[in-house]
């Protein structure tokens, strides 16, 4: 027989067996005070779950790791041998083949925006996943979580102004922020108009308003440096105004946003966006000019993509080859991952079209090939269409010439730099014979327009998403995409700037 505490714990943990459930039920009926105790434990359990800080999920205590088969010494020996082999291999390659390393790509970014809730920026919108370079962030409203490359996590609550200085330093001139600084980011600095806070590996909050500046220490210790004053040290539970009355106050963690709150809020915000997208799908599908739309919400395990366009009966469902299912733009949204040289979706767009709009939500993981396919007609020639990304990051719509005429490539400036890899991007391209131009869009914004050489109708025919097939056997060029797609649509009309912008929201 288990005692009531153990039974209650099993109930909270969801591990109650049938026999234990019966035993607990009997106890509750016989001793009403256990019922109140269970409810109090239940409430506290729920609150404790809600206080879970995000960072804690990353902490794995060595003592609780599964027992290892290899000792540290074994691992280091193997690693040392592997390093020797790699070095020898590199030396042989360099000496024998006279290879010279290419100039390495660099980035100016010092932090990344990892989460956001109801973000409104004073300048151009910054979305989660965006690497951040030194400069000002001006947040009108919402909560943004920024992770500095040295490891500090900072939450800013709008309205706020924060200048990123380096991967370990920022300046806050307005608003509230809370910072969580792990030991490896010790020394992280936040400057304010009246002083500088140097973190010694801790959690603290900072409130910078026009009238006052206050620093609150929730955990660990911070140093407060002010011009012409001696350095002050603030410990856990203490707070202080940075200027004026410098008496010690009690730290108030509840007046600052927590990492756990932003987690819960961003999950809700994502769910809301997903639901909005689902609700708007019927309207998009009913557009008379829409001939094909894959929403990638087919049953997991399905090997075909259903065409949801109401006016798309001439275009059959797409057939998935190789590509595997993955998570799309939001949790619960599905997408197809293209990773392997064989991965593709085969489809057939019969007939000719005078106008064309293509749109896709794509996550590019890398540009491994000279040409990385988004959507390409099989083979090439006679007004076929190739929509792809070049190795240097330009999006290209290639249109083959008809009757011996030469082809035309319509390129964007470089769009896909390493900073954009791994993030969802909405791409659209419009072939418009009325204005005699091709227009490219990214995330709803017009990127470029270029003049058409020929307005002859396009003939897509058999085509592939995420790959290209140029011949039936042998020597097929490799142009598969390394990334994922979670929505694709094709119209036989030219969509306007406003329509594209709506699609990308």
């Amino acid at each position: 027989m288990l005692d009531s505490d153990t039974l209650i714990q099993h109930y909270l943990e969801g591990t109650l067996s049938d026999a234990e459930a019966e035993q607990l039920h009997d106890l509750l009926k016989a001793q009403p005070e256990i019922g109140e105790r269970l409810l109090q434990q239940f409430d506290m359990d729920a609150m404790l779950h809600a206080t879970k800080p995000l960072v804690a999920s990353n902490i794995i205590r060595p003592a609780l790791l599964p027992k290892r088969r290899f000792t540290f010494a074994t691992v280091t020996s193997v690693a040392a041998m592997a390093a020797c082999i790699a070095l020898l291999g590199a030396w042989v390659l360099n000496e024998v083949l006279q290879l010279r390393p290419e100039a390495e790509e660099t980035t100016a970014s010092v932090a990344v925006l990892t989460r956001g809730v109801n973000l409104e920026w004073e300048s151009a919108a910054i979305t989660p996943g965006t690497p951040l370079s030194p400069g000002w962030l001006k947040l009108k409203s919402g909560i943004a979580q920024i992770e500095f490359y040295q490891g500090a996590r900072v939450l800013i609550e709008g309205p706020a102004e924060l200048q990123l200085v380096s991967s370990g330093e920022a300046t806050c001139t307005r608003g509230k922020l809370s910072a969580q600084v792990p030991p490896q980011a010790k020394g992280f600095r936040i400057n304010t108009p009246k002083g500088t806070i140097v973190d010694l590996g801790t959690e603290f909050g900072l409130d910078v308003s026009a009238a006052n500046e206050e620093v609150h220490v929730f955990k660990g210790e911070v140093e407060l440096h002010q011009p012409a004053l001696t350095m002050k040290s603030l410990k856990e539970g203490q707070a202080m105004a940075i200027a004026g009355n410098t008496a010690m106050l009690a730290a108030n963690a509840s007046s600052f946003a927590s990492l756990n709150e932003i987690d819960a809020r961003s999950a809700m915000s994502q769910r809301f966006q997903f639901e909005k997208w689902l609700a708007s799908s019927a309207k998009v599908n009913a557009d008379p000019g829409l001939r094909l739309r894959f929403d990638f919400q087919d049953d997991e395990g399905s090997r075909s993509l259903r065409n949801h366009a109401v006016n798309g009966s001439q275009i059959a469902d797409g057939s998935i080859v190789g590509a595997s299912w993955t998570t799309g733009r939001w949790p619960g949204k599905r997408a197809l991952e293209f990773r392997n040289v064989s991965d593709r979706v085969r489809l057939n767009i019969p007939g000719e079209t005078k106008s064309l709009t293509l749109a896709v939500w794509v996550r590019v993981n890398g540009l491994d090939r000279s040409f990385n396919s988004l959507f390409m007609s099989e083979r090439w020639g006679d007004r076929k269409v190739h929509w792809q990304i070049t190795r240097d990051g330009r999006v290209r719509l290639g249109v083959a010439g008809g009757a011996g005429a030469s082809h035309a490539d319509h390129d964007t400036p470089v769009l896909f730099t390493p900073e954009r890899f791994g993030r969802w991007t909405h791409l659209a391209v419009v072939f418009d014979p009325v204005t005699k131009e091709v227009r490219h869009y990214a995330n709803g914004e017009l990127l470029t327009r270029s003049a058409l050489k020929s307005t002859e109708p396009l003939k897509i025919g058999i085509a592939e998403l995420g790959n290209w097939n140029d011949r039936p056997t042998g020597g097929v060029a490799i142009r598969h995409l390394s990334g994922a797609m979670d929505e694709f649509a094709l119209w036989d009309r030219a969509l306007s700037d406003a329509e594209i912008s709506t699609l990308a929201k």
């Binding site: 714990q9 509750l28 434990q41 206080t51 205590r61």
Partner: protein, 177 residues
């Protein structure tokens, strides 16, 4: 989002803990509180144009939360064996019969202070179980204790935190566990 939608989202977020408290009262089933809060958010936002955001949103949110909580509680418990369903029914009745209103909203902020005052061993246990998602049998295995002992230790920690919150609310000052 348009302005009204943004305002509606802000109103909801200002009452997020209130919604969680109501959810706990009407659906005392482990792990259900966040799902209910999320569903209330979605349904609140789906009809946001109907709400007058200048008035107190609590009565509306309380009604929505109660309906959604009961719906989700039914869906979740009916998948359980009959004996567990009976237990769940009993616990829900006990929760509904409680006279005290939900106090989640006031208590969650006090709880954070109380957590900081816990003795080191208790705080470690909270971190292992709640923050690192390690189950009681695994904790017991790693620290060479019986699983029942870990269950009782967790129970005592929760009790201490409850006492700390109550002491704090009667004193009106900083909490000491």
């Amino acid at each position: 989002m348009n302005t009204h939608e943004t305002q509606a989202a802000q109103v909801f977020l200002a009452h997020h803990d209130f919604v969680r408290g109501v959810a706990l009262k009407y659906a005392p089933w482990p792990g259900l509180m966040e799902d209910i809060a999320q569903q209330v958010f979605l349904e609140f936002m789906a009809k946001e144009s109907q709400w007058d955001l200048s008035t107190d949103a609590r009565p509306l949110l309380a009604t929505m939360t109660r309906h959604i909580a009961m719906r989700q509680w039914r869906e979740r418990t009916r998948q359980q064996p009959e004996v567990v369903q009976k237990l769940a029914d009993h616990i829900r009745l006990l929760a509904e019969e409680r006279e005290a209103p939900p106090r989640y909203e006031e208590e969650i902020s006090v709880l954070r202070n109380c957590l900081q005052k816990l003795p080191e061993k208790s705080r470690e246990l909270v971190e292992l179980y709640y923050y690192n998602d390690i189950g009681t049998p695994q904790i017991a295995d790693q620290i060479n204790m019986k699983a029942d002992t870990v269950c009782r230790a967790l129970s005592r920690v929760r009790e201490k935190l409850r006492e700390c919150i109550e002491r704090s609310s009667t004193q009106g000052g900083p909490a000491h566990a």
